[in-house]
Amino acid sequence: MVINLVLLGVLLITALRAVMKRDIVKSAIALALTSIILSALMFRLGSPLAAVFELSVCGGLITVIFMCAISLTKPQVSRQEDEEVNTHSRHFGVLMVLLIAAAGVLLMVGIPAGTVLPQAAADADARSVLWNERQLDLLGQTLVIFAGFFGILVLFKEGVPRVEKNGAARMRDDLSGELEPDDTVTGEEVHSEPSAGCSKVKAEKVCE
């Protein structure tokens, strides 16, 4: 039990590092570490098949693909940008403490005494369960993969021009929907929704 908790804590640290690092390589390595620790947890919880999948696919294959993509595209991250992470470190610490506290609360509130939790099924059952009982989920997964494929096409394809509508080009960039950026209402802060904050194009120059 204690080992599980320690592993969970380290998992949390590596996962947060993966998200908060600006340098993509360090981020990818942190993600790989997260997968490794997750598969260790899965072994301990009695699902060796799931653990093997996690280790080989997420910890191994995906990291290799990330490294290939990074080395082929060579994104440049300046030293200065990477140092900016240090200023976020204290948020990092606070976030971790909050998450651990939330987990602790859930643990204490969640499982009532005397609950008997069913054991994980043996490996042979896992394979038959996947292919015989959960075919619909495999179909759903295929659909998700297709959606992801289109997502990559839409979001990352090079050479597709940004949208320009005839005469209405700037409307998509302006939440307030004014006709021209330098129209009669310049100097007036136009906000449809105060909470949208710095997302507006006009305020962009002020905020960044």
Binding site: V109, V163, E164, L175
Partner: protein
């Protein structure tokens, strides 16, 4: 072959075929998608219920897929089909880039497949998987044009949707732990008479996840940005069906198939529904952006559905389902009108518009029909569904909530009248003197959706007998 499974396979095979590397296939995409949606609508209206689940012949083992269709599913299938038929022409006509048009069509087909799946499964985990299909598709659709606001809206939707999915998955895992399986029947059997804390926490977590996906206050943060930033066709799709299929429909399904009608969550749903109605309506008042106002209006109407669910009676659930359908129709209508106005005038700022009804008569007239239906003015469809909702809530003893829902209709009428006055009525604004009416791809959805709104309202007795009372009968 189970007819229901066709609704998942035909789109999937079609999409694979459309993506084969032959040039002529891309031109067929629009026709294919429209035909598919039209067939789905026809099947939903005309095919009798027993035929949906019949196994006609073995077909590569597909007949063993656990998909079943009941009256509740048919409503969602019909709604998905109608909204697709409205969104596809609008989206394809406003998108000039051929590749992006094709991607829009493929993603719409994927999203529709996901929603068909949500309508037909009877297993919690499969429900989750198909919800994910929809979530990924919609996230990409919102960011389709890759401009800054679109990416931001898509990112917000992605993050909140991911949080909702994690919460739902945790709930499913807890229910799996305590009942041994995730199918509706098993979980329902486990929950009957079970008063331990763990299943209750699980159910509450699941409902929270669904409320985030449905845009119920206070989880609605992503909705206005996502609806406003999305391109025209995607807004129609999202407003028409996204929050419904993944959010409130699943909530209704949960109550019908898993929890049973009366449950401790009733009070929470009533409260959430009421604050959603009021806060959505009040926020809609202050908007200058046409689409943003409609987004807050959608949030408000979603509150009616949740409120009706909270009433706990069979009439309440029937009202929720009916309002879900009506809202899909009139909200899609309004977003098509907003897209038409934006296409012709180049702006969404209602303060600079005026008198457009003189130059765009059809858009103006259909907008009047849609907003009267939203406000609940007889004899349009919206009046009947709101009446059922308020009667159901009143009948369950929650008089205060029924009065709140009634008074909020006044708010709805007020902000829509203000919109109509600013955009369509009044003197024609100088810069829009030469604006012309939109062309056919907009006009046909506008007119058809208005006709459905008027038709369902005027022929309500027929709808009551064939639509609403049967839904009550499945609740026992």
């Amino acid at each position: 072959m189970v007819v229901a499974a066709f609704l998942i396979f035909v789109p999937l095979i079609g999409m694979i075929t459309l993506n084969l590397p032959f040039g002529f296939l891309k031109r067929l995409a629009f026709a294919y998608a429209m035909t598919m949606a039209a067939c789905q609508a026809a099947l939903a209206i005309f095919l009798p219920l027993p035929l949906w689940n019949r196994v006609l012949m073995p077909f590569f083992g597909l007949e063993t897929l656990p998909l079943t269709v009941d009256r509740l599913s048919i409503v969602l299938l019909l709604t998905v089909a109608i909204v697709m038929l409205a969104a596809l022409p609008v989206g394809c006509f406003t998108e000039r880039n051929e590749n992006r048009k094709f991607e829009f069509i493929c993603l719409t087909i994927l999203a529709a497949t996901g929603m068909n799946g949500i309508a037909m499964v009877h297993d919690l985990f499969s429900l989750y998987v198909f919800t994910e299909v929809c979530a990924v598709s919609f996230c990409v659709l919102i960011a389709l044009t890759r401009d800054r606001l679109g990416l931001e809206g898509g990112f917000k939707y992605l993050v909140l949707s991911a949080i909702a999915s994690v919460i739902m998955l945790t709930a499913i895992a807890l229910l799996l732990m305590t009942s041994g399986s995730t199918s509706f029947a098993t979980v329902q059997a486990m929950l009957i008479g079970n008063s331990s804390a763990l299943p209750r926490v699980a159910v509450a977590a699941f409902v929270v996840g669904l409320c985030i996906k449905g845009g119920v206050v206070p989880f609605h943060g992503w909705l206005p940005d996502a609806y406003t930033a999305a391109p025209a066709g995607v807004s129609v799709l999202m407003a028409g069906i996204a929050t419904k299929a993944t959010g409130v429909y699943t909530l209704i399904r949960l109550f019908v198939s898993v929890l049973g009608r009366v449950h401790q969550l009733q009070g929470v749903l009533l409260f959430l529904g009421a604050i959603t109605i009021v806060l959505g309506a009040m926020a809609a008042f202050g908007q200058r952006d046409f689409k943003r106002m409609l987004a807050y209006s959608s949030i408000s109407q979603m509150g009616y559905i949740v409120l009706s669910l909270g009433a706990g009676s069979a009439l309440g659930i029937a009202g929720a389902v009916f309002h879900l359908f009506n809202h899909a129709i009139f909200k899609s209508q309004l977003f098509v009108n907003a897209a038409a106005v934006e296409e012709q005038t180049g702006t969404r700022n209602m303060d600079v518009m005026g008198g457009l009804s003189a130059r765009m008569p059809v858009t103006g007239a259909t907008s009047v029909v849609a907003f009267l239906s939203t406000a609940g003015v007889p004899p349009l469809a919206g009046f009947w569904s709101k009446l059922i909702v308020i009667v159901a809530v009143w009948g369950s003893g929650n008089r205060v909530y029924a009065v709140v829902a009634l008074l909020a209709s006044l708010l709805t009428c007020a902000y829509f009248l203000s919109m109509q006055r600013r955009v369509f009525f009044g003197p024609l604004a100088e810069q829009f003197k030469n604006v012309r009416e939109v062309r056919l791809p907009f006009l046909v959805p506008e007119i058809v959706l208005s006709l459905i709104t008027i038709g369902v309202g005027v022929f309500f007795p027929r709808v009551l007998n064939s639509f609403i009372l049967p839904i009550q009968s499945i609740l026992g």
